[in-house]
């Protein structure tokens, strides 16, 4: 028998420890901020329609501001992130169902127009019927705007994003709802903010529950969500979301507590997006998260093949 050096088997092999994947070139804060603003705008458009139908003008006003300004600033963030911002209109050159960014551009463009028109009508009192129709249109597109961004990030080779594709849309829907509800609580008087409070609490529960499910299911790929700076952001967001939701539930009828809880939910929704974004980048930069799960997949496939063969 030949002598073998007594070195422990490495957990995985790599090329000088270098990453296999290219980490996303999407800039911070542009893209995580866009994820937040898209969620806020989409869910706000929905809240605005409910407020309009149920006769809550102050809540409607705040939600329309959230929808229109979220879409506007979100668009600015997206265009600013482009390597060639002057070519942003190329986003509407084709429509491709295989590209969530293409689908999202076709949702964001009409949404922005409709939400802005609805807000303009609401602020000026002009063309009220057209304004409401625009608001209905934005409300119909809102849920798509708030959730497509989950497909945007999970439809990549980034391990911690891709493997979480089942839960991510629910996390994003919840995060958007809690942000929109939070803004409503912050901006509307408490006697009109009831629906905002309930939307915020439902959203917070979705966001927390979805994250918990994902982290339990992901195994090794949950590490980037727990460790380092993204881990700290996720932990902070979790505490702030849960705490603010509790304040909203218990003290939501106090104007001060309602405003504080609403602000907390807005901030925690944004922090969640930064945490998720950072965790994905970290998982792409470490070859471990590419090699080990793929090796494991190959090993299982070979075991199945051997059992059948």
């Amino acid at each position: 028998m030949r002598e073998q050096p007594l070195v422990p088997e490495p957990e995985f092999a790599s090329y000088y420890g270098r990453p296999i994947l290219k980490p996303p070139v999407w800039k911070q804060p542009d893209v995580p901020m866009y994820l937040f603003l898209g969620g806020l705008a989409g869910a706000s458009a929905l809240l605005a329609e409910g407020a309009a139908m149920s006769g809550r003008p102050a809540l409607e006003r705040v939600a329309r501001i959230g929808a229109a300004s979220g879409a506007a600033f979100g668009t600015v963030a997206l265009v600013h992130d482009l390597g060639r911002p002057e070519r942003f209109l190329n986003m509407l050159r084709v429509i491709k169902l295989t590209s969530p960014l293409s689908v999202g551009s076709w949702v964001l463009a009409p949404f922005s127009g409709l939400a802005t028109a609805a807000l303009a009508s609401n602020l000026t009192g002009r063309l009220p019927v057209l304004g409401r129709l625009a608001g209905l249109g934005a409300g119909a597109l809102g849920p798509a705007l708030a959730t497509y961004t989950a497909a945007l990030i999970t439809n990549t080779a980034v391990p911690a994003w891709h493997e979480a594709f089942q839960e991510m849309p629910w996390i994003f829907a919840g995060s958007g709802a809690s942000a929109a509800g939070g803004l409503g609580m912050l901006g509307a008087p408490v006697d009109q903010a009831g629906p905002a409070r309930r939307l915020a609490v439902i959203g917070a529960a979705l966001e927390l529950g979805g994250s918990e499910l994902a982290i339990r299911r992901l195994g090794m790929l949950a590490e980037p969500y727990r460790e380092g700076k993204p881990g700290m952001l996720m932990k902070t967001a979790r505490a702030l979301t849960a705490g603010s939701a509790a304040v909203a539930l218990l003290g939501g009828r106090s104007r001060v507590l309602s405003g504080l809880a609403g602000a907390g939910l807005l901030v925690s929704s944004a922090i969640t997006r930064f945490g998720i974004f950072g965790a994905g980048v970290a998982s792409a930069k470490d070859p471990k998260y590419t090699v080990v799960p793929q090796r494991e997949r190959l090993r299982r496939r070979e075991a199945v093949g051997a059992a059948q063969g």
Binding site: R2, A13, S14, Y15, Y16, P19, I20, L21, K22, V25, W26, G42, L46, L47, G50, L82, G83, R84, P85, R87, N90, R93, V94, K96, L97, T98, S99, P100, L101, S102, G142, P143, A146, T147, A151, N155, T156, A157, F165, Q166, M168, P169, W170, F172, A173, G176, A177, D191, Q192, G194, P195, A196, R198, I202, G203, L206, V291, Q294, R295, L298
Partner: protein, 285 residues
């Protein structure tokens, strides 16, 4: 169209909409005869006028280009392996001091199911009549979506330019019947260019020949049309596990899961509508 997102797809150009098209062209890179001369890297840079992207020593053996990227479309990897100081049993370069050198020229895989192309929102990335994948630089707006979508980490953004760049399999040369610059320059024919179906047969023969000679570590990478990307247009003969060369062991095109992703997005969007309704009918004020 069947298998347009994942799985075996025999006529990739036809699937992309070409009715009359030439056969699918590709690379077979036989790393067992790579001598690490980097002529491919140089020829590629020269022909495609790819900008200089830093001349430095990496400390990673003779590798000084580090990885594929916007300005490196061929990358020669140098792996130094410590092996037992027995007489050579592998039949490949093995020095007496127990050091074995693996050299491999990496390149864009021109996947059958190319994630970069699928996710490109502008239509800048397209499938050529040769079945290859090319960026139209006059359309790319630098959104960067293709970069994290590629399961091999090939395509990247050129920082001072904003757009993304990668190997075109010398689309311009192919169009006039010339072979790509890297294959033309390769002195050992480690890089072989040709019709993909023919290259696959040639590779099977080569790997059988190496096994006969006792090089049982030889294996093909990316040639299987049933793999996670439907097979690569540029595939390899390797002498160790893929990850040793910086390649993913079991790459899968992300868009294979996109129908399921859209389903989950749809359900969550409906869930959000439900949450909105519940918020208003929950209880009066």
């Amino acid at each position: 169209m069947s298998n347009s997102l994942a799985g075996r797809l025999d006529d990739v150009a036809g699937d992309a909409g070409y009715h009359d098209h030439p056969p699918r062209m590709g690379f077979f890179t036989d790393t067992s005869i790579c001598i690490g001369c980097k002529a491919c890297e140089v020829a590629c840079k020269e022909w495609n006028q790819v900008p200089e992207d830093g001349i430095s020593l990496s400390g990673m053996s003779y590798d000084n280009s580090l990885m594929l990227g916007a300005d490196t479309w061929r990358h020669v990897a140098f792996v130094e392996k410590t092996v037992p100081t027995e007489p050579a049993i592998t039949g490949v370069d093995q020095a007496a001091d127990g050091l074995q050198w693996l050299m491999a020229s990496d390149v864009c895989k021109h996947c059958t199911h190319a994630a970069c192309l699928d996710v490109c929102p502008t239509g800048s990335l397209f499938r050529t009549e040769f079945g290859t994948v090319v960026v139209q630089e006059d359309i790319c707006n630098g959104c960067g979506y293709c970069v994290p979508a590629c399961p091999y980490g090939v395509i990247d953004q050129r920082e001072d330019d904003g757009r993304v760049f990668k190997c075109t399999l010398c689309y311009d040369r192919l169009s006039v019947g010339e072979e790509p610059a890297c294959a033309k320059a390769c002195p050992t024919d480690s890089i072989q260019f040709g019709e993909l179906s023919e290259l696959r047969q040639r590779a099977e023969h080569r790997v059988a020949e190496l096994h006969d000679k006792g090089v049982d570590v030889a294996r093909l990478y990316g040639q299987d049309p049933d793999d996670g990307v439907g097979g690569d247009g540029a595939f390899f003969l390797l002498l160790d596990d893929a990850e040793v060369y910086g390649l993913p062991p079991d790459p899968v095109v992300t868009t294979r899961d996109l129908p399921a992703m859209w389903r989950h997005v749809g359900m969550a969007a409906l869930g959000l509508v439900g949450a909105g309704i519940a918020a208003f009918i929950g209880r009066p004020r």
